[in-house]
């Protein structure tokens, strides 16, 4: 197993140390819990830090090997290259399977150390101790992967002195530096609430306390996952050359699935904290979210499903599938075992209540997740049962997403104005009136400017309706509390809602109203399309150490020049289109050059996409990030974490800003 090289030996050694630390950490903690030895339990932190150090060291060794171009390692032979710029040599670590697992491990051990540090004064608490055991066990699994089927430190073929570098798509945009680590911070971050959920089941402390312990971890993991997905869309838009942000590719779906169940969870957890209800549901959602991260990795990294994003195949499949099975069986077994304690005494009095809307939202997200999973794995099912191949692509998912999206927008409009327990018709009529008119305006204004299509206009209307409802709550909260009214779960959540609405509207507009044309441009002559002028300035060639190519300088609207290009990476021999985009508040002009152009040509064929509102995808995403940050901090009327939130709601003012003092707006 040990490689013959310095980096290989060092890498394997620290991974072994990490595996040993994680194993002893898990065993010592379990022994400490069993014997009630609090002194032993307090040593858990040392094991966690040991695991973290080993993970960081392994990652560091691999980075060093890549930067030093240590071609004695098979992984460096695969993704390293003397010609690759420094930045992409750094990011090359997550450009294939083995390095991605190292990144996963790095973040996982980081979370483990943070948990051990955060709860250092309560390490003897069985809930925390069991949560750490779960974290250690997950760490063990990933250490085993890095020493087995995803061994990044395996010695390579002797005598190799150069490599091809990472996939060309992963070495031409700076977003490669941010998208995978941030996505993994979210993906792997879901391990923390999962660990506490399992700990709660094992200890039988299935009340609401463990939820408050992990609330911020769940929220920030969700936030990172959201940012990661949006950055992935941005990368796709800037790099792949087809002008889209989301292709319903299996890897994209793998990141969306835990996001959907995670989104359901961060809503339904409020019902449990407030009413003590939906305990089984919340546990199931958390388990599903974590299990889906493993299943998604299996689907996209095992080679069972081909994807433009997969960038790797390996023998890791059976390991991931087995782990997924173990997680599912153990978790469901624990939930069944604790069934008697998970029964909640309360009842949702009316569908016309905050908790009723949350439940409907949850069911919708769950069914949507099921549909995405079904579409993703259906080709596998057909192949297994009927020995034939089919493909399920974006047209299927897009036809499915429309009804879900519309109903979710409607729920986003209605839910924020609903009080807990039950709402009267008069109250709804009062609170929804102005938000509904905002929706009407949001529908009529695009119509006046020529928008068409039932679903798109309905989406704009519902988006405006939802934005009106969210703004209403923020206005009420800031009137009462000033800027502090933007902070806290309910109000920060409304900022997130506004971000989601902006993203949704931008997605609808950019997919429904995109137009494209292929234009033959000649130097010195202007052509028009979509209300813009295009003029070819020159067709130029370029050469770098790792590539050569051709780009067309195109002047848009007699102003700035844009340069769509086709780059040929010499090590791969493949052509990679590089679009050039003029971003605008109302629309983007997205240019690609069609094949066949040569340096010095006086003509070039350019494909022009006019894409409305794309920049609002990123603005909405930014707002979601800001809102998530605001949600992570307690509002003014903070409950103490030790308060029994499942206790009957006391008679008196409702702490919710809207329910507490309904004001007519």
């Amino acid at each position: 197993m040990l490689g013959a090289t310095v980096n290989g030996t060092l890498g394997h050694s620290v991974l072994l140390v990490g595996l040993i630390c994680a194993t002893f950490g898990a065993l010592a903690t379990v022994y400490g819990i069993r014997t009630g030895d609090s002194r032993l339990l307090r040593t858990t932190q040392r094991y966690a830090f040991g695991v973290a150090l080993a993970g960081v060291a392994a990652f560091g060794v691999m980075e060093r090997a890549l930067v030093d171009r240590d071609f004695t390692l098979a992984y460096v032979q695969q993704v390293g290259s003397a010609d690759t710029p420094f930045l992409f040599n750094i990011t090359a670590i997550w450009s294939a399977l083995e390095g991605s697992i190292l990144l996963w491990l790095l973040i996982l051990v980081g979370y483990t150390a943070v948990i051990a540090r955060r709860f250092r004064k309560r390490l003897a608490d069985p809930l925390v101790a069991w949560a750490l055991v779960v974290m250690f066990v997950v760490c063990i699994f990933f250490f085993v992967l890095t020493l087995g089927p995803a061994d990044a430190f395996r010695a390579g073929a002797i005598g190799v002195t150069k490599g091809t570098g990472p996939n060309p798509l992963l070495q031409n945009h700076i977003l490669v530096l941010f998208h995978p680590p941030i996505l993994y911070l979210g993906y792997v971050g879901m391990t923390v609430p999962f660990a506490f959920a399992i700990a709660a089941l094992i200890t039988g402390r299935v009340g609401e306390r463990w939820l408050t312990e992990t609330r911020r971890f769940a929220l920030f993991a969700w936030g990172f996952l959201t940012i990661g997905i949006l950055l992935g869309g941005w990368w796709s838009y800037e790099v792949l050359g087809w002008s889209g942000v989301w292709g319903w590719d299996p890897v994209e779906n793998a990141s969306l699935l835990p996001w959907l169940t995670g989104t359901a969870y961060i809503h339904s957890v409020l019902v449990q904290e407030r009413r003590g209800m939906l305990r089984v549901w919340n546990l199931t959602l958390l388990v599903s979210t974590f299990a889906l991260t493993i299943l998604g990795t299996f689907l996209t990294r095992s080679g069972v499903i081909k994807s433009v994003h997969a960038f790797s195949n390996g023998t890791i499949g059976p390991y991931l599938l087995s782990f997924f099975g173990i997680v599912a069986v153990v978790s469901l077994g624990l939930i069944a075992w604790r069934g008697d304690r998970l029964r909640s005494p309360g009842a949702i009095d009316s569908p016309m209540s905050r908790e009723g809307a949350f439940l409907a939202n949850n069911v919708l997200f769950t069914v949507f997740a099921f549909v995405v999973l079904l579409g993703t794995v259906f080709p596998l099912i057909v192949e297994a049962l009927q020995n034939r191949t089919i493909k399920v692509g974006s047209p299927y998912f897009e036809s499915m997403v429309v009804p879900f999206g519309l109903v979710l927008l409607f729920l986003m409009a209605v839910a924020p104005v609903l009080p807990w327990r039950k709402a009267s018709t008069e109250l709804l009529r009062d609170r929804l009136f102005w938000p509904a008119w905002v929706g009407v305006i949001a529908m009529v204004v695009p119509l006046v400017f020529g928008a068409t299509g039932f679903a798109a206009l309905l989406a704009f209307g519902l988006g405006g309706f939802a934005a009106g409802a969210a703004s209403r709550q923020l206005i009420l909260a800031t009137r009462r509390q000033g800027l502090r009214g933007l902070v806290g779960r309910a109000n920060g959540g409304m900022v997130v809602h506004i971000g989601v609405i902006i993203v949704a509207v931008a997605l609808v507009a950019s997919t429904t109203y995109t137009h494209s044309s292929v234009i033959e441009l000649t130097v010195g002559k202007q052509a028009s399309y979509g209300g813009h002028t295009f003029e070819l300035v020159a067709v130029e060639g370029f050469t770098t150490a790792r590539s050569n190519g051709v780009r067309a300088k195109v002047r848009v609207d007699n102003a700035k020049d844009y340069s769509p290009a086709i780059t040929t990476y010499t090590a791969f021999g493949s052509n990679v289109p590089t679009p050039s985009v003029r971003n605008g508040v109302l629309d983007d002009i997205y240019l690609t050059i069609e094949p066949g152009a040569a340096p010095g040509d006086k003509t070039a064929t350019i494909k022009v996409f006019i894409k409305p509102l794309v920049v609002w995808l990123w603005i909405g995403g930014l707002l979601m990030v800001v809102g998530t940050g605001l949600s992570g901090f307690p509002g003014k009327r903070r409950r103490r974490p030790t308060d029994p939130t499942s206790a009957p709601i006391p008679i008196g003012p409702d702490p919710d800003p809207v329910s507490e003092e309904p004001v007519s707006v």
Binding site: L240, W242, G247, D249, P250, I305, K306, S307, V308, A310, A347, D349, S350, P351, L359, A360, V363, T366, V367, V371, L374, F378, V382, L385, Q386, I390, K391, V392, G393, S394, Y396, M400, P419, R421, K422, S424, L427, R429, D430, R431, F433, A436, V440, M443, L447, A451, T452, G453, F454, L457, G461, H515, S516, S517, V518, V576, K607, I649, P662, S664
Partner: protein, 170 residues
């Protein structure tokens, strides 16, 4: 059971929010949707039509990409073929897709058929949606009947005792 009620808004505000205001709103929405969904979008350009068709066809040499998304030579070749068929002006989108399917293999469609076993991928989401709605309905009904349970004398005695104890403390 506590029921939140609406406050008393200002007179004009209150008048606006009565049913006529909502009826006007509904009318505007219906008219807007009717206009938007029946208004002609104008003739599609050949390129728009090409993009629409290409999105339904899988690139035969790529991993998970459509002919619309892929920049591979195979995808470019199919796009050229589709463009040629569109320019002839006699073929429908379905005929063009069928042509591509015949000439480039049966795996090229990205939309599963609604017949045979493939129909499962269309039917299951509908089934899941129906189950979800039915489940929610049953759950809310059960909760409502539980909430409507009339407290027994014993329940009332417990509450009275608790209230008396509270009064004593004050």
């Amino acid at each position: 059971m506590s029921t939140a009620t609406a406050p008393a808004p200002a007179p004009l505000n209150r008048k606006l929010k009565r049913w006529p205001g909502w009826v006007v709103l509904l009318g505007v929405v219906i008219v807007a949707l009717l206009i938007g969904s029946t208004r002609s979008t104008g003739p599609l350009t050949d390129e728009d039509r090409l993009d629409g068709i290409a999105q339904h066809i899988a690139c035969p040499e790529c991993e998970g990409e459509s002919v619309y998304e892929s920049q591979s030579p195979a995808a470019q070749n199919i796009r050229i073929q589709i463009k040629s068929l569109i320019s002839q002006g006699t073929f429908s989108d379905d005929q063009i897709i069928a042509y591509v399917e015949t000439n480039f293999g049966t795996k090229t469609q990205l939309v599963p058929k609604a017949t045979g076993f493939d129909a499962v991928v269309w039917a299951l989401p509908v089934f899941a949606g129906v189950c979800a709605i039915a489940g929610l309905t049953v759950a809310f009904r059960r909760w409502r009947s539980a909430a409507d349970t009339v407290p027994t004398e014993a329940d009332r005695a417990i509450v009275d005792a608790a209230l008396a104890e509270q009064d004593d403390e004050h």
